[in-house]
Amino acid sequence: MTVSPSHLESVKAASHFLRGGIVEGLADPVTGAIDDDDGKLLKFHGSYQQDDRDLREERRQQKLEPAFSFMIRARLPGGVLTPAQWLGFDAIAREHANGTLRITSRQTFQWHGVIKRKLKPTIAAINATLIDTLAACGDVNRTVVSSANPLQSSAHRMASDWAARLSEHLLPNTRAYHEIWLDGEKVVDTAQESEPLYGPTYLPRKFKIGLAIPPTNDIDVFAQDLGLIAIIENGQLLGFNVAVGGGMGATHGDPTTWPRLGDVIGFVPPDRLLELATTVITVQRDFGNRAERQYARLKYTIEHRGLAWFTAELERRLGFPLEPARPFAFDTNGDRYGWIQGDDGHWHLTLHIAAGRVADTPGQPWLTGLREIARMHRGEFRLTCNQNLIIAGVASDQRARIDALVAHHALDGYLTQSGIRRHALACVALPTCGLAMAEAERYLPDVLSKLEAQLARHGLTDAPIGLRLSGCPNGCSRPYLGEIALVGRAPGRYDLRLGADFSGQRLNRLLRQNIDEATILETLEPLFGRYARERTTGEAFGDFLLRSDLLPSEAPRTIPATVIA
């Protein structure tokens, strides 16, 4: 059964390689927004149009359009940046955006609240730091994430280098980005342009690649469309296990959508990595669902056609079979806080940044503090997929100075925070995210305090429990891999999901649907009690719940009837 392509497919096809009417839309002073279709194209350039949803109704009454602004996301493969780049980003946040930098759950930065007039100067300013935003969003390969584990410094270097190579290799070919934002020379005839990898309609949907270095799964490698697990022996990178078809997004109440963990299908040596990634993308390009965007991720292509078919098609295109996967083991998907000495002798300090929001707030001048640190720091900064920050490559004689700055600016919370606070993630949600159904980032401090009070009563303050808070079921904070997850349904109401492991290898399960805070706390209370009394040594909360048979079995999946040829 065939179905016509979605509207967005024709928008992409008619866009002249992502140009559309963006330039005209930016110049229109009558509105702070741009045309809907151009907004879709804008994502490929690294920006989403948003509006302050807190003000929507008020402004409607004021006969003003919504307070439109734009989120800009950097493409930052491996999440590594220099102190100079940090200072550039910090200045951009203060001069062009809402005065904050946000570390995302995919190891990059977002600026929020950039108004339309400032979009071009802001993107230009980002490029002036030698970092771009091209393909940070949109139906393309997005920024490539990699383990930030500071223990294995040389392996980290290798991983982040590969992340950068993959990201560069998979960039769109269009000159539109340079034309629109950087006053690059105009391509006279866009018919002469081409996208050898993507084609004129790019991918059916976003595509995410992540690279993990066992035993740390801080990137949640099985949540990626293409997950790569580095196999290192005696300091030598042998290659990568290949996992395909991970993805978090789902729709409430729609059993034809679900979060999925990637399947490991084999192993490739390093010199075949680019070829492998390119080929996975072309299979998805050619077979992904272009009619229904909710089924357009690689995970549904694989579910609909079967993993065996996918592997066969991949190998057919590659022209060689994948080697059998090598053994690997993950022990955590969390971050290690505090100072760690890497195998290269340098020191690395991991700080906890609540919800990844670097801002100056009363009593917590974090933006200022990190600016001060960036001014004296000689190493680099690394972002983690847990929305945290590593001050990396510090000589031992600089540690005291950094510690002093960290303490002075109240960035030292990691020293005293509870286990659950240190392992909490939250997406942005309200007021800027257009998809949010409930609060996430803004609700995090509140719900954490309440959970902490409960946990303290059971002597569980220090128990590392992974909490993931999400404003909608699409899964930016990877809620389906949280030991405890709250997935927003409506203002003040969430689905409560429990029972993931602490290493990103098992999805959690839906326990209660659409409940309010009181019910959430009420439901968790006896579970915390039993966990405190009955857990075995070192047993994680999610593992305990499963072992004790405290969770319902999973609802069956339904594959949608319409399969696109």
Binding site: P29, V30, T31, G32, L55, E58, R59, R60, Q61, Q62, K63, L64, E65, A67, E95, I115, R117, K118, P121, A124, A125
Partner: protein
Amino acid sequence: MPALPAPSFAPLPGDASADILRLLEGLDAPTLWWVSGYAAALAHSAGPPRTVALLPQRDAGAQERVTIIYGSQTGNARRVAERLAQAVERAGLAVRLIRADAYPQRELKTERLLYIVISTQGEGDPPDDARGLVDFIAGKRAPTLPDLKFAVLGLGDSSYPLFCAIGRRLDARLVELGAQRMVAAGEADVDVETIAEPWIDAALAQARDALTTALPRANVTPLHPHAAPAEWSRENPFAAELLVNQRITARDSSRAVHHFELSLEGSGLTYEPGDALGVWPTNASALVDSVIQALRLDGDEPVACAGETHSVRTWLGSRRELTKLSRPFIAAHAARSRADDLNRLLAPDRSTDLAGLLASHQVIDLLHAFPAAWTAGELVAALRPLAPRLYSIASSRKAVGDEVHLTVADIGWDAFGISHAGAASSFLASRGDGARVPVFVEPNERFRVPADGSTDVIMIGPGTGVAPFRGFVQERRETAARGRNWLLFGNRHSQSDFLYQTEWQAALRDGSLHRLDLAFSRDEAIAQIPRTRKTYVQDRLRENGRSLFEWLDNGAHLYVCGDATRMAKDVHAALVDVFSTHGGLDGESAEARLSDLIQQGRYARDVY
């Protein structure tokens, strides 16, 4: 006004109908109604037909008739002129009431008895309808006027430095031309009646003495275009129900602008887009209390003044100006307080400093800064009577029915340690839904959408000056006018001060607005953008000069509404530039073109 078919005047002998047409030409609607009423009253009185003074011979007419010319921007001068005309008429004298731009200038030399009622705008400018006449009288081509008796009443606002300058200028110039002044020039402040009433009495007495010919007496029969005439007026305002009080600037805007919707249901009041709505405010009770407190008065003490007795609180709340100072009050207060600083400000060479004081201070500030003793009675007598505020109407009845909409900036500022507010803007802004607001309609015949719907219009309305153009666009949409509508709007920030943004966006979509050019002065200050200069509507006019010139060349009507002191002047200068650049005219010819446009009613201004 749309042209009527040529009348046959069937019962009239040959030349009489031509005479009537000649006499009626240029008269505005109220005058025409008045003439109709006069004729009707004549018809009612029994008796044989006779010659009446309204149809005099051309030469004889001037000697037997009072001519009253008015130049009016907001309608105050017109209203005073109408009252004078009625008084003259009631006295049984022949009178011609005529708007300055309808007055045939060649007739000036044959006038015998002339009254001029004229306001002064902004910084010493004539009202738009009187520019031509003022230029004529002041200019070289003015005839000598040895046989003319005249009197001038100037209207103005003593919080501006060149108070009543145009009235003074005409008064002096007419004497220079040899005319004989019958009544000293009146200089009416915003409390117009205080000066206007005695001046009207004096002018009437002089007219009686001067006109020897007794005329047939006739009462005026009221005739109105609609069955139920509005009984409501400035003196007898309608208590309109407030339906909507909605702030329309964003929360982070430095200016609070409110959109008001009032119900006129049951009032019989009507208006056209371009008219103004008069609002009688009540002073805030906190302000009244602070004045009472500052002078240690008893708020309940009854005070009699001008034949009325009210408590002090009532006088100050609803009968007297507290938010606008006047020169006479400053003089009186200076005398009482024996404050040398204040006294010195009243010297003729300190008018700029005085203007600064008038603009920045309210009554309470003066009382605080220069303490002096006042009794309640003395205070009430010295303060200016409260005057209504006029706001350009922001709606079309064709779109909103029995409602009238306003766009009002809530003026507020902190100074001298206390907060200050405008009387009517804060009065309105603090009213809740369902409150009653005393209002009346002030027609503005000179600010109307073109009678011919196929004519293009260019509307320049920055800030709250956009108000009448909301009404214009509504009107043109409802009447399916085929002409194009071009709006130029400006304000500080696009995100917070874009008044009626969603309505303009909808109008662009549905085709009732064809072009919208915007100038947000505080938006441009982005470090990365080299243009650091603030941009205003006049800059957009110059940038779009060619289009503007083409539209005007094509017969477009141009309207300006808003600030008189700076914006209207800057816009005018930009228009001169546009005519020079795109019309190949030198400055003087460009000015002349604009004067022609004003004369033709194609360049109209509603500025304040």
